[in-house]
């Protein structure tokens, strides 16, 4: 199954939810739509499912235009953010629903429906819940029921809206691995919406980063992390701190901070591609700092151990900078010289700069 979106736009009363979206997803891929709330992720997902309709543009599945195909004929599985389970039906009835509403001619006999539902519930590891009502099971279990219900219709495409959004952190981690394994097992083309970058990076084959109704980058997690397409992505992904700076022909100068300039050779992002000069924004991640004890530009304010490294907060001029340092290097109150090892730099007039 392949999915292709072209020139998709959607406007709500007072907001442009989607602007000129293009996306091509290959069969069997697991794709994350990642972005802050309000960036249009859910709207895009709903349009794919036929629950909303674009003002312009087209959705093609295996080459077929979906414009005139209503939701009920699309065979697209949709897992709603709050699951939207039918509250008056048992788990079994929820999962069987999609099979039971088929026209008589294509509806499997009841015995086969039962067998298929039970197989699915077993695969979801919730076989023992089939007689329960949705209100009698936990959030994580509801999630699995919603997934089983969507899979029961043998969808050609699976859409998940914030699949872990309503769960607590503990359950979330467990389900994440399980969902990834399930995807590998089923080989189903899937798209899921999330605002959690860890989730997207860990689960997806490719990630579409969305900002203000546009897809600003669509790439593998590794490349998004290494080569963010613009300042927005650089700031949104990874634990990066943003600095105002100025790019000259030789180096990046940090504005208003006693930080040493970075030569161009050490820079990443646009600057690495030899972009021009002028006001710029620079992003430095916490592990991209080097602290040298002794007199210097920084004072350690506080430190917190985190898995073999120390998350430190330095006062540098008027700013506070977060950086990782080796354990035992400094005590709070001591001074040091703090230098960035690299930075991702984007000129301030880049179209999607966060400003």
């Amino acid at each position: 199954m392949s999915l292709e979106l072209r020139g998709l736009s959607r406007r709500f009363d007072n907001a442009q939810a989607l602007r000129d979206i293009a996306l091509q997803v290959d069969g069997g891929e697991f794709v994350a739509l990642l972005g802050p709330s309000g960036s249009g992720k859910t709207t895009l997902l709903r349009i794919l499912a036929g629950l909303d309709f674009p003002d312009q543009g087209e959705v093609r599945i295996d080459g077929q235009d979906m414009a005139q195909v209503p939701a009920r004929h699309r065979r697209i599985g949709f897992v709603f953010q709050h699951y939207a389970l039918f509250r008056h039906m048992t788990v079994f009835e929820n999962v069987a629903f999609g099979l039971r509403v088929r026209p008589r001619a294509s509806r499997p006999p009841e015995a086969e429906i039962a067998a298929r539902v039970r197989r699915l519930l077993e695969r979801m590891q919730i076989a023992e819940l089939e007689r329960r009502l949705p209100e009698q099971i936990s959030g994580g279990q509801r999630q699995r029921v919603a997934l089983a219900r969507a899979l029961a219709i043998e969808p050609r495409l699976l859409l998940l809206d914030e699949p872990f959004g309503a769960l607590d952190a503990e359950v979330r981690k467990g389900l994440r691995h399980w969902l990834r394994a399930l995807h590998v097992e089923l080989g189903l083309t899937s798209l899921f919406v999330t605002h959690d970058q860890d989730e997207a990076m860990e689960l997806a084959d490719r990630v579409a980063v969305m900002q203000a109704g546009r897809i600003v980058q669509f790439d593998t997690p590794a490349r998004i992390l290494d080569q963010p397409a613009n300042g927005f992505v650089a700031g949104f992904i990874g634990q990066a701190q943003r600095f105002a700076g100025r790019l000259t022909s030789q180096e990046l100068i940090f504005e208003g901070l006693p930080l040493a300039p970075l030569p161009r050779a050490l820079l990443l992002g646009e600057a690495a591609a030899g972009a021009g000069q002028g006001p710029a924004e620079a992003f430095v991640r916490t592990h991209e700092w080097q602290a040298t004890p002794g007199p210097g530009n920084a004072v350690l304010r506080s430190a917190r151990a985190a898995g073999g490294r120390v998350q430190a907060v330095f006062a540098v001029g008027p700013a506070l900078i977060e950086a990782e340092i080796p354990p035992g290097l400094l005590e709070p109150g001591e001074t040091c010289q703090l230098d960035p090892l690299t930075a991702r730099v984007f000129l301030a007039d880049t179209p999607f700069a966060t400003g």
């Binding site: 709903r46 036929g50 629950l51 309709f53 939701a71």
Partner: protein, 269 residues
């Protein structure tokens, strides 16, 4: 028109519009237009009759007075229903809806039997020199009866949703219980009380069945406006009847508008 994700929009809207236009809007259009057969001056004359003015005055002032009188009782009932658990609470909850459910003719008959000079309550009241049945007081009593549940049911949900933390906060700040109620609870309930008052009044203004049995229906004294419509219809004075009806609707509308504005003002203040 945009596509919609769920089916049945056109069909359900179509059914709804036919149902609404045929059963409500078309008939009300007749009410809106028919009085003017008399000409503007004729409408004026038809409404300026002393008997009409007296009836309109009784219906409106009676309704306002009766609803205002029910505010403390409505608040009390809502308060004990929401805040206290006591034997008979569930029954009390059901009893509040009695005026909603009881057919108006039954209510009218019952109130008359009770407050007539030889009734269970009418006799002791008469001994005190208070005549209820067949007087404007009886009209107000029937109006209060039908209006009470509106006040209780409007205040109740608001009271239930009031965060108790606000009252606890006031207590930690040194307010006495009476101060908390006067300064924290009542201001929060004021818009709901006003809304309940408005709904009770609107209902009482148009009330017919509960009132006419106990009213005695003496022209100029205890005759309500809806009864005047009936009287005029019996004389085949359609336009005159419609004029009274339209005047009632217009006055009710103005009253609701004024109360609405007052509520808004209150919220802002």
């Amino acid at each position: 028109m945009r596509q919609r994700s769920l089916p049945g929009f056109g069909a359900s809207l179509g059914v709804t519009l036919v149902w609404l236009v045929g059963l409500v809007l078309l008939p009300l259009l007749a009410l809106l237009l028919r009085p003017w057969e008399l000409g503007p001056l004729g409408v004026w004359r038809s409404l300026a009759e002393p008997r009409v003015l007296a009836a309109l005055r009784l219906s409106f002032l009676g309704a306002l007075a009766a609803s205002a009188a029910m505010l403390p009782l409505g608040l009390l009932v809502a308060w004990v229903l929401v805040r206290y658990r006591f034997p008979g609470r569930r029954l009390l909850d059901g009893v509040v809806d009695l005026p909603f459910a009881l057919p108006t003719a039954v209510a009218g008959l019952a109130l008359t039997a009770l407050y007539a000079p030889n009734g269970w309550l009418g006799e002791p009241l008469a001994a005190l020199g208070l005549k209820v049945a067949y007087t404007p007081l009886g009209v107000g009593l029937a109006m209060a009866f039908v209006g009470l549940p509106f006040i209780v049911r409007t205040v109740e949900p608001v009271l239930r949703d009031l965060p108790l933390e606000a009252e606890e906060a006031a207590a930690t700040l040194g307010a006495s219980r009476a101060q908390v109620i006067r300064r924290v609870v009542l201001p929060a309930l004021a818009p709901a009380l006003l809304a309940g008052f408005a709904m009770a009044s609107a209902r009482a203004i148009g009330e017919y069945g509960s009132v006419i049995f106990i009213a005695g229906n003496m022209p100029m004294v205890s005759e309500i406006a809806p009864l005047l419509i009936v009287v005029r219809l019996e004389q085949f004075d359609y336009a005159g009847a419609a004029a009274v009806g339209l005047a009632m609707l217009a006055l009710s509308f103005l009253l609701l508008l004024a109360l609405n504005l007052a509520t808004r003002f209150w919220r802002r203040a």
